[in-house]
Amino acid sequence: MKIFALRALAGLAASTALFSAAWAYQESPMLAEMVKAGTLPPVEERLPAKPSVIEAAEVGQYGGTWNRAYKGPGDRWGPTKLLEERVVKWRSDKDGNLTLVPGYIESYAVNESSTEFTFTLLEGLKWSDGVPVTTDDVAFWYNDVFLNTDIIPTIDPTFAPGGKPMELEVVDARTFKIKFAQPYVYFLTILAKDSTGEPSLDRPSFLFPKHYLSQFNNHYAKPEELEAAAKKYGVEKWQDLWGSKGAATAWWSNPDLPVITAWKIETPAPGDVVTMVRNPYYWAVDQAGNQLPYIDRIEHRLFDQQDAFNLMIAQGQIDFQMRYANTNDFPFYMENAEKGGYHVIKWRDAQAWSLLPNLNSQDEFLNGFFGNADVRQALSLAVDRDTVNELGFAGLGEARSASPVTGSPYYNADLETHWAAYDPDAANALLDGAGFTEKDADGFRLRPDGKRITITVEGAEDNQAGILQVVADNYKDIGIELLPRIIDRTAWDDNRNNNTFDMQYYPFDRLSVVAADPRNMMGSDSYANQNFIWYSTKGASGVEPAPDAPIRQIWAAWDKASTAPTREAADAALNEMIAAFVNAGYVIGLVGETAVVGIVDNDVKNVPDGLINDDITRGEGLAVTQQIWIKE
C-alpha cells in the first residue's frame, strides 16, 4: 500500500506558492505584440500582485498550437478538464502521490470542526477581459445563481449536507467564508472535483463574472431584456442561457464570457474545429517568472469514429491527448510512433472493468440469486481474469477487484485481490452448496422452476464482445449461461436507469480519492440503484434492501464518514465503507488499473508519465497543462 499521501487538511491553513520576486515577468510574444500595439496593458499590470507559481518540470518556450481531437458538443469534458480552475486542485508528485494545492486563491483555512472554510482570492486577480475579480462576484454566484431557483431549481445535496445549504459570508473584497451546519471534512475534496456544482462543474468555484452575467440574470435584467438575450443566442427561454450548456454562461459556447482559465474559447462547437486561445490575464507564472500558459492556442478537430482519430494519431496530427486513445490500439500506436513523430505514455486508470449484477433485478429469481453472497463469490471466482486482461487489454491491465487503485489514499492490497483468484472448482462447489445442483442436458444449472439459469450481460462498445465471450466461456464451466449483448450506449444507460437489466459490463471508476464521489459504491447508478434511491430519499421511493443486506453497512459507514468532525475519523469510516463494499462482492471487478494510453508529440515537453487517470483528479488536467510547452 502506498503511503497515505493526502495532507491532513482539517484545522490547517494552506496557501499558494506566490511569486514575489521583484524582477520583470516575461510574456508570450503573441501578447507582447498586442502590448506593443497598445491593445493590451503590460504584463505586470495584468498579473496579480503576487501571481501563483506553477513549478514547470522544465522552463519552456512560448508559442505554438496544441492539436487535439474532440467528439462534438457532448464532449466538452475533454477540453474542459485541460483548463478548469478550482479553489483547490489535485496535483500529483513524481511518485504519483496526490495533494491538494490552492488555485486562484492566496490562501484558505478550515476551522477545527470542519464547518467553516475561509478563502482569500489572489490580490489583483482579473477576469480575461481585465475586470478585477472580487467577492462581489462571489456574492453574485451565491445569491443570484446558487440560491436562484429560477436557474437552479433544487440544491445539490452535495452542497447541503444534512439538508441545509452552505452559507456564504463575505469578509472583505478578497476574503469570504463558507459555513455548514454540520462538519464537512470532505468539502475541499469535493470542491476539487465538483467545483461548486451546478450550473456546471466546468465553472470555477464560487465565482461568476457579475459584470457580464448580470445582464442574463432575472435579479438584474428585465424580462424583455432576458427575452431579447434568449433570442440573440437562439434559445427558447432565458433559463437556457444558464445551465450546463447555457448558451451565454458556459465558457464552452460563449467566447464573450470572461473566464479565469489559462485559455478561453475562440471558436465554439458545433464547428468542425473548436479553438481556444490564451487568456492574457492568466494569473500564474512559472518558477522563472514567465506568465503561463506556454502554449498560445489549442485546437480540437472533430471526429466521430475511433479510426478517424487513430489515423490522426498515426499521421502525427495529435500533440498530446489521452482521451479516446484506446488501450486496445496500443500496439498500433507504438508501431506508428516513429512515423507520426510521437511517443506513447501510460497513465494508470482509476477504474476496474467489472460485471455489475443487478441486485434490484425485477426478475424474482435473479434478485435472490445475486443477493446470495456465495453466488457472487462463485461468479467472481469463475472468471479467468488473466485471460481477460491478455485478450481484452493487450495485457496492459491487472486482474483485480473493484477497489481503490494503487496510488489512491484508500488503496488496500488485500481488498485489491478480494475474490479475484481464478478457481472454477471452488466456484462450482459454492454454487452446489447454494443449492443449484440440478443441471440440464447441456450442463447448465437450473432454477427451481426448472428453467436454465441465464444471465444477459450488456456491454456498450463493440470491442467488448470478445471479453464478454471469454467470460461466457468461463461461466459455462460453472453451469451458468451468460448471454453477451452489445447494445447502444444510450440504451445501456437507460436500462440501468429503468432497472431493466440482469448484468452489465461496466467501467467501475472513481477509485482514487473515493471520498470525492462514493456514490457508485453506494449503489447509485450501479449495482443497486433502486436501493440507493430508497436510501437517498429516506424511504420515500425506491426499494428497501433486506434488513441484513451488506449495503446497509456501506451506507452506515458513509453516513459516519460524511459527518465526522476530523479527517482521521472520516477516513477511518470511509475505509470501513470501502471494505464493506468490496467484501460484499456486489461488483465483480475483472481487470483494472489498465494503462491509459497518452499520445505525446516528440516536440511536446513537460508531459508527466505514469500518473493516475480519474475523473476525481480531472483526467488529463492532472498533467498541469499550463506548464506544457512545444519545442520549436
Binding site: N310, A465, D473
Partner: protein
Amino acid sequence: MTDTSRAESHFTASARTLMWRRFRKHRLAVVSLVFLVACYLAALFAPFLAPYPPDKIEKLQTFVPPQMVHIWDGGPAWPFVYELKRTRNAETARVTYEQTDKKIPVQFFVRGAEWSVFGLGTSDLHLFGIEAKKQKLNLLGTDSLGQDVFSRLLYGARVTLSAGLVGVAFAFVLGLTMGAISGYYGGRVDTAIQRLMEFIRSVPTIPLWMGLAAALPIEWDPLFVYVLITLILALISWTSLARVVRGRFLSLKSEDYVLAARLSGASQTRIITRHMLPAMTSYIIAAMTLAVPEMILGETALSFLGLGLRPPVVSWGVLLQDAQNLRSVALAPWLLTPGLAVVLVVLAFNFLGDGLRDAADPYGQ
C-alpha cells in the same frame, strides 16, 4: 448431332432450355454458379470442413498470421506446416510469431471437437487438422481472441448466406403480389398502391433499424432479432420490385398474346399464371439473384453502424466488424478475408444474375 437434328432440337427447345443454353455461354455465370453451390455446400458442412469450433478462444494464439501449408520439401512431401514460436514485444505489446524448423504434418480425417450431424447424432471427425500441443492449424490466421478465422469464415457463411434470405423472399412475395395487382387491375387499385408505395419509400430506414433494434427484448437470440428485423424491413423494401413488376404487367397486359388468351376464354388466373408470370420469371430470378448480394452488403453495413448482427453470432458482417479498424488493416490484414469472401460471393451472385438476365433476353442468341 447432325445439323438438321441440331436445328430441330433448337426449334423444339422450351424457353427454359433455350435460356439454359444461352446461360451456358456466359462462362463467368457458370463459374459463379459452381462457386456459389460450393459455398452453400461448404456452409452446410462447415462443422466437418472447419478444423475448430468458431468460438474456441486460444489465449496464447492471438493474431497468428495465416499459415502456409507446404507440399514441397526439397521434393514432393506430405503436407506440413512449420511450428511457430510466439513472442510478445515488451515495448509495443504486439504479439509476433516466428517459424521454427520443426515441421508438423497436416492430417486428414482427424478427431476434434464434437459437432451435431444435422440433429441426427454427433461426430468429432474433421476433414483436416494437425496434432500439436501448442499450435493449431490456422489457414487464414487467428483474430484477437485466437479464434481460427478459417473456421469462423465457414460458420459465418451459414448465417450470412441464409439469414437475410428470409427477408428477401418475403419482400419478393410482397413486391410481386402488389406489383401484379397494381399493374393488372390498374385504375383505383393501382393509384392506391402507387400512393402507398410512395409513402413507404419515404419512411427512413436507419432510424427504423435503430428503433427496432432497441425496442426488441434484449434476451432474444440476436440472430432471431436480425431475421425479424429483416422481415419488418421487407415491408419497406418490396416497393422497388413492385414498381418494376407493375411496369412489366402494364406492358404485358397489352401484349397481343395476352389478349389472345383472353379472347379464347382463358380465366384471369390462367392468364396471370400461364402467360404473364412466365414472361417475368427470368426477370424475377435475375432480380432475386441481385437482391441477395444487396442483402449481404446490407448486413455488413448495418454491422458497421452497430445495428446489424452482433457477436456472439458469427456472420461475415460480424467478422468484418472485427476487421474494420486501422489496427487490423495495418497489423493483421488477414482479418479482412471475410471482406474478400463478401466480395467474391457478391461478385458471383451478380455474375449469376447477369448471366440469367442475358440468357432471358428474348433477342439474345
